[in-house]
Amino acid sequence: MGLFILRRLGVMILTALCLTFIVFWLTNLGPNLEKLAKTQGNARMSDDAVVSWLANRGYSQPLPVKYGQWLGVLPGYVIEGTDGEVRARCATPGQPIEEASSFCGILQGDWGSSTVFKDEVSTIVGTRLGLTGKLMLAVMLVMVPGALIIGVLAGMREGSRTDRSLSTVSIVTTATPEYVSGVILIAALATKAFIEWDTIPFKGTATAAMDDANFENFFLPVITIALYGMGYIARMTRASMTEVMTAQYIRTARLKGVSFPKIVLKHALRNALIAPFTVIMLQFPWLLNGVVIVETLFNYKGFGWVLVQAAGNNDIELLLGVSIVSVFVVLVTQLISDIGYVFLNPRIRIS
């Protein structure tokens, strides 16, 4: 078990390094840097001016060197620019170059600063993650119990009418991407397009929910994300439930004369929930997608919204920070799901 976790951790770190390097490479491509220089410096810069602007700020160093500096394994640059000013990667504005530390990267906890928001990346990512965390928590509270109940109800009597209707519901929800369900839900519940509400029950934007989330402004974004994931988890739960319900020990329990509700709750449920656990964990990366779409649609300025802003404006350090966090989330949930699967499943755990 220990060796297994260690190996997974090693692969995870290697994956994280590769992924951040790819993001780093893509954001540091020539045209992207040129755009950065023109938005940060002067939109009508000549090509020479762009080149010297980039060289003065350390952007023209070789890619591995830049990546090493950003990571914090190579000393940050100190460049005497063509305009005579000396700039150092690690010097905060106003700080003398000599006092600046020589290493400043992710490993030292220095995430750089955003060019669009004019703020530290760590602060931005921290606050926005908090907001998205609130959203995700609400989504999980709605999605997981809902999906498990639907899945168990559908799976306990395979082929019954309940099964068929609930399975159809879960197929419909998996076929509805967030930008479709969001639009339909807003039109139906936050405008008077379908129903002539006296007072419109829900808000079509969730901007107010960032400070003060209540049922009126938070319900629609939460239900939009939850619906898409719910169908998939419910189908997985159903599959594992039907499998368990045909097992020998369930038949034994039935022959013993145990009542049906008791069979479902005491004998079947625990074993049927092993597979959905991994599925729920693996849903996190997908939820991340949903979060980006929903936060854009409902104008909820959380992590997904920052991702869109950073990527749209080629805000290199913010984008790198955002991708580290999202890659980290994906990899950690994969790890947890693997370990959890081994841990929950006695057959694997003992061997």
Binding site: T15, L19, R161, T162, Y179, T205, S326
Partner: protein, 481 residues
């Protein structure tokens, strides 16, 4: 011209009936669902005289009621759809006119279903699809959009107006609005209203289907070619090859899709030529696939092999070169006369294939790992068949069931991805009528004008739902044998 109402003059007396029947149907359905938990199930009882009797009770009664009410609902919907073909223009309102516009699609659907059901025993897995209700519904929805896309793309039939023409005064107008005198178009109304730029929403949605129906299956096929060509050897040989390829696949899968799209599908990245290089790599896989497929089969008969391989590889190679060769990008070396077509949205296409291929790879690898221990593989190995022959002619055909099901699901997923790209305005021009871009245009004023965003949303939902149902039906039917 008077604006059209939703159901016109016919609706005036048909609508109340429809509402009552639907209401009763819903009540019966809920009653049935609730009774399903408590009431005893419907059973068959054998009578002493040898007949069977159905012991239904309350549950049986609701079941019968909901069945007949459902048939009544269907019949009423059919009246709404068929009546406008006979009645004069506008009598059945917007619903009727939309049904009238889709007339070629209805005819094509009826012919397809009639022919398929008659010959279903001779049509293999496709024929078996018509044994499952879910599969038939899914197939019907999918074919509805396929025919729509075909008739719009090939004959310009269904759309009522040009999807780019802006008519002044029709900005954000509600469905059924009459267009001013002298506007070019087949009918004097905007059936689903005007959008933010005063263009006809109905025409935009049906024109958008062409984009989705053309791109999504093609991108999925490419993703499958890549996934199969890499997944088979990874699963068959295992070892270092498997480790490296699996690591790469997991690497791509660990990327949040939207982040990947934002990084790949930008004008700056197109300038660097990365999408062109990626296209050059990804699109080579179909050539490898077909080359190896045919070579492994016929290499014992060199003459036949050469006769087949040369034309196939020649045509594929030419297609390959003209796909990757584009004016204004880094790969532009073919003379003008050899370049068959220019794909303007190459970057969209490439990134969708790129995102889908690793998942296909994982599925194929898993299936191969399972199938390579089978006896027929051992038999082929004993016969001395080559590794590629075993992979492509022994393992692949036996893995087709899950792959076909996944293919349907994946087209749906690709449709969702294309919609996502459009929703974020990535890679597609805002003029483009594809559903994602149209939803994106419509959502900006969603709280004031809800009608522009809804038709493309419903269209996308129905297509993906159809593909999901189709996959479900196929899975059910392929598990039966």
């Amino acid at each position: 011209m008077e604006p059209l109402t939703w159901t016109g003059a016919v609706g005036a007396f048909l609508n109340p009936i429809f509402v009552i029947v639907v209401g009763l149907f819903v009540i019966a359905l809920i009653a049935q669902l609730l009774l399903g938990f408590f009431a005893p199930a419907v059973t068959l009882q054998a009578n002493p005289d040898g007949t069977l009797a159905r012991r239904g009770g309350a549950l049986g009664a609701t079941e019968t009621a909901s069945k007949y009410l459902f048939l009544a609902v269907i019949a009423l919907i059919l009246v709404y759809l068929i009546a406008p073909m006979i009645l004069p223009y506008g009598m059945v309102g917007i619903v009727g006119e939309i049904s009238q516009r889709f007339l070629p699609v209805w005819i094509a659907l009826i012919i397809t279903f009639a022919v398929s059901i008659i010959y279903k025993r001779k049509l293999g897995l496709y024929g078996k699809l018509f044994d499952s209700t879910v599969g038939m519904i899914g197939f019907g929805i999918v074919m509805f959009w396929v025919f729509t896309a075909f008739f719009v793309g090939a004959f310009d039939w269904i759309a009522t107006h040009d999807y780019l023409t802006q008519v002044s005064g029709l900005k954000n107008k509600t469905p059924g609005v009459a267009v001013p005198e002298g506007t070019v178009g087949d009918i004097p109304h905007y059936l689903l209203g005007g959008d933010n730029l005063a263009r006809d929403i109905f025409s935009r949605v049906v024109s958008g289907s062409t984009f989705v129906i053309a791109i999504a299956p093609l991108a999925t096929i490419f993703a499958f070619m890549v996934g199969i060509t890499l997944g088979l050897p990874a699963g068959y040989y295992g070892g270092l090859l498997d480790t490296v390829l699996s690591f790469l696949a997991n690497l791509i899968l660990a990327f949040p899709v939207i982040l990947l799209f934002y990084l790949l599908v930008t004008p700056e990245i197109v300038l660097t030529g990365i999408p062109s290089y990626m296209a050059a790599v990804l699109f080579v896989f179909p050539i490898i696939f077909f080359g190896v497929l045919l070579n492994s089969r016929y290499y014992t008969q060199p003459q036949k092999r050469t006769a087949i391989l040369v034309p196939v590889l020649g045509i594929l190679g030419w297609l390959y070169l003209s796909v990757i060769n584009q004016k204004g990008t880094v790969i532009n070396f073919l003379p003008e006369w050899m370049d068959l077509f220019d794909i303007t949205i190459l970057v969209v296409f490439v990134s969708v294939v790129f995102v889908n291929a690793p998942t296909v790879f994982r599925i194929v690898r898993g299936l191969t790992l399972d199938l390579r221990t089978r006896d027929y593989v051992a038999a082929a190995q004993t016969r001395g068949e080559g590794a590629w022959y075993i992979m492509l002619w022994e393992i692949l055909p036996n893995a087709r069931g899950p792959l076909i099901v996944d293919f349907c699901l994946r087209i749906g997923y690709t449709t969702i991805l294309l919609g996502t790209l459009g929703f974020f305005g990535l890679g597609l021009s805002s003029e483009s009528p594809d559903w994602g871009s149209t939803i994106n245009e419509g959502r900006k004023l969603l709280l004031i004008y809800a009608h522009p965003a809804l038709p493309p949303a419903v269209a996308l939902l129905s297509l993906v739902l159809g593909l999901n149902l189709l996959a479900d039906g196929l899975r059910e039917e392929s598990l039966k044998d």
